[in-house]
């Protein structure tokens, strides 16, 4: 498309409203209006320039502020909808069966819940359409910014000191009057403006005083911050950048740490400590009395191991790294990972102690303790007595097809088949022992009497790693710099020039805070004779003139 040639001789790109150099209005609309729109300096926003290829069309789509705002509204409203019912992550459904999720939402929230599930809001922040929406938002921010900041930068760089009177006249603040000694006024004005810390350029009987152009870049710096932030979030998808996992580990167990391949954790001991009454003092002592007990500390004593270089998963070839007590807010830290104390479970059966007794005489033949997680084949009690462990069911669940069964490997309901060997019965007597239940094939002379049980706790830990944290922080800082830059620095410009026949023109523009701009002009006017100006948008001033007219 063709360029627009201004009367001053400058060639402007297609779509320009005000000539980049002299400021003459280029469009019919601008020529007719009393005041020009100074946004983006009347430069040709790139979106408006060419609409030819498919790439240009996509580009122009994202460059539109209307589209940008629509995307923001879409993101905001869907994000809000996503908070109505709990997200999938917080739903207590084990496994990944979709029908169970549907059932959960329907049961708790009725038809609305069902719809919520079916429309995919239940896992919204991970859904493809939400991600695309965020992606479109990022695209819109980048393209719309590029399309505006580049032409704005160019036209501010190219602007001429002497503007055409038609540009001056169309500014919001404008004045035109006959002045005695225009040259002297210009000189004085130049000095006064410099004293006000303006950058002053003088050229051919014209002054351009400019201040804080820097403030114009605020929105774009702000957008850059947003993009850095989005980039940081995106980088969480790169393997090794972001880990957020949980693990349950019982006392005495060693487990590979999920999300941290090559590392193993052993739970040595978990403990809960409560405040004692003495320690709590008078005030809190009452609180403890009222509430029972108050927890002081949840602690997991752990040992960290690392698989040796080149060793395979499952091999016991590990080296000890360190021992650490994890308490709330004091995570175990290693290699960028942090392991936090999050949850606990107490009182899972760990071992059971039995006493072998003669039923009639109640004479004891010795005690034996079975480690429920690693039972032995036999337990020698001395004196010619021993216990042979024939079968062990960790989570006894009755007899199926004539055979005792266990429904899980967790010792929730242990049951045993013992063969009790005593001097009286060297071949042994068989007995099935479960909690509160003993079955015998034939009446036995001896029995394994339950004595005591030991329990163990399990720690619920969270594994975190976030390499993107500093990127997010940087994004946030850049974002704030942009906000501050755009908010506290106003780009002010004052144009003063000699017109025809000893007339002088004055015009001014700022992107915000017109009051101070006018105050600056007034300060200059105190020392230099300048035309009086009017603010075309100052409604009070307009009413004043009307009232004056009325009284006259």
């Amino acid at each position: 498309m063709s360029k627009i040639k201004c009367q001053c001789g400058h060639e402007n790109p297609f779509g320009t409203v005000l000539c980049e150099k002299c400021g003459r209005p280029q469009t019919d609309e601008a020529q007719k209006s009393e005041m020009v729109d100074m946004r983006y300096e009347g430069s040709a926003r790139r979106s408006q320039t060419y609409k030819k290829s498919i790439i240009d069309k996509i580009w122009n789509f994202f460059s539109s502020v209307k589209i940008g705002v629509s995307i923001i509204i879409a993101v905001l409203s869907t994000s809000a909808i996503g908070t109505i019912f709990p997200q999938k992550f917080y739903v207590p459904v084990s496994g990944n069966d979709p029908s169970e999720y549907l059932a959960y939402y329907e049961r708790l929230y009725g038809t609305a819940g069902k719809l919520y599930y079916q429309l995919g809001f239940y896992d919204m922040y991970d859904s493809w359409w939400f991600k695309i929406l965020i992606g479109m938002l990022g695209t819109s921010i980048i393209i719309a910014s590029l399309d505006r900041v580049i032409p704005l930068y160019k036209s501010l760089k190219k602007q001429r000191t002497k503007r055409h009177p038609s540009f001056m006249k169309r500014q919001r603040v404008f004045g035109q009057d006959h002045i005695e000694d225009a040259d002297e006024s210009l000189e004085k004005a130049e000095k006064a403006l410099k004293d006000l810390h303006y950058n002053v350029k003088v050229e051919d009987g014209a002054i351009l005083a400019e201040k804080n152009r820097f403030g114009r870049w605020g929105p774009y710096v702000n957008h850059a911050g947003l993009i850095i932030f989005l980039l940081g979030v995106l980088m969480r998808g790169i393997p090794g950048f972001y880990v957020d996992e949980t693990m349950w580990i019982r006392e005495g167990e060693t487990r590979e740490i999920p999300g941290a391949p090559g590392y193993l954790l052993e739970n040595v001991d978990f403990s809960v400590e409560t405040y004692s009454k003495d320690e709590a003092g008078k005030v809190f002592g009452e609180a403890i009395e009222k509430n029972g007990s108050i927890v002081k500390e949840f602690k997991s004593d752990v040992k960290l191991y690392k698989e040796k270089e080149g060793s395979l998963p499952g091999s016991s070839d590990v080296e000890f790294v360190k021992e650490y007590p994890i308490i709330v807010n004091k995570p175990l830290k290693f290699d960028g990972y942090s392991i936090f104390q999050m949850d606990y479970q107490t009182d899972e059966l760990k071992s059971m102690t039995f006493n072998l007794v003669n039923k009639k005489t109640e004479e004891s033949f010795g005690e034996f303790t079975i480690d429920l997680n690693d039972p032995a084949d036999s337990y020698d009690l001395g004196n010619g007595s021993s216990i042979e462990l024939m079968e062990y069911y960790a989570d006894y669940d009755g007899i199926v097809d004539g055979e005792p069964t266990s429904k899980s490997p967790i010792p929730n309901n242990p049951a045993f088949i013992f063969n009790m060997k005593t001097p009286d019965h060297p071949e042994g007597e068989k007995s099935f022992v479960a909690i509160r239940q003993t079955l015998e094939v034939e009446p036995n002379d001896y029995e394994a009497k339950f004595q005591s049980a030991e329990t163990r706790d399990a720690s619920g830990l969270t594994i975190r790693k976030d390499k993107t944290l500093y990127i997010l922080l940087l994004g946030g800082i850049v974002f704030m710099i942009g906000v501050i830059q755009g908010s506290y620095w106003q780009h002010r410009r004052i144009w003063i020039q000699k017109g025809t026949n000893s007339e002088m023109l004055i015009a001014a523009h700022t992107n915000k805070n017109w009051f101070t701009l006018k105050k600056d002009i007034d300060t200059v006017k105190e020392v230099a004779a300048l035309p009086a100006y009017t603010d075309k948008q100052d409604k009070d001033a307009v009413t004043d003139t009307v009232m004056e007219g009325d009284t006259n």
Partner: protein
């Protein structure tokens, strides 16, 4: 003309980068990776009942039926005898059986082996690192068929019938 082309290329490049970022956001999943047919089976090293170290890579060049199981799992109990019945004939044909128990006690696994008279190698994944982390096995039993190149040819997450076991083992028989 030149300028237009330049503009087209720059815009195209920026749009392409942004599209790539969106595609990346869509495809990168934080969830743990699940093995699929066609993946290379991760190597591991576990101990058998006698404490002997067994590596998957020891069986390179042979087909491997890798079975994850637990003593409490009823379908595991059902399919074990079928595996036992056929594993010997396939050993000569270059197909091995490796069964991995998920972290149970030596006693429990040992009684199970005796009860069912198993003679193929049984390994115990004590720290559950192979089954839970490397192979991400959830339901039991899970059976994977690995060909002579170490590539997973089939993943079955349910009980196998006798006929299925035979045909699956035939499918990974090296020529």
């Amino acid at each position: 003309m030149d300028k237009k082309k330049k503009r087209l290329y720059i815009r195209g490049a920026i749009l392409l980068i942004l599209a790539a970022a969106i595609v990346f956001a869509l495809t990168s999943k934080k969830e743990t990776k699940v093995l699929a047919v066609g993946d290379k089976a991760p190597n591991f090293e576990l101990q058998d009942m006698d404490g002997k170290k067994v590596k998957l890579s020891d069986y390179e060049g042979q087909g491997v039926l890798l079975n994850f199981w637990g003593t409490w799992c009823p379908p595991c109990k059902k399919e074990m005898p079928y595996i036992e019945k056929h594993f010997k004939e396939f050993t000569n044909k270059g197909v091995q059986v490796l069964s991995v128990n998920i972290g149970e006690s030596h006693f429990k696994v040992d009684t199970f082996i005796k009860q069912y008279g198993l003679t193929f190698p049984v390994l115990i994944d004590k720290n559950k690192s192979v089954s839970r982390n490397s192979y991400n096995v959830v339901p039991l039993p899970t059976t994977m068929l690995i060909d002579k190149n170490g590539v997973i040819q089939e993943i079955v997450t349910r009980e196998l019938s006798e006929a299925e076991i035979v045909s699956l083992m035939e499918s990974i028989q090296p020529e």
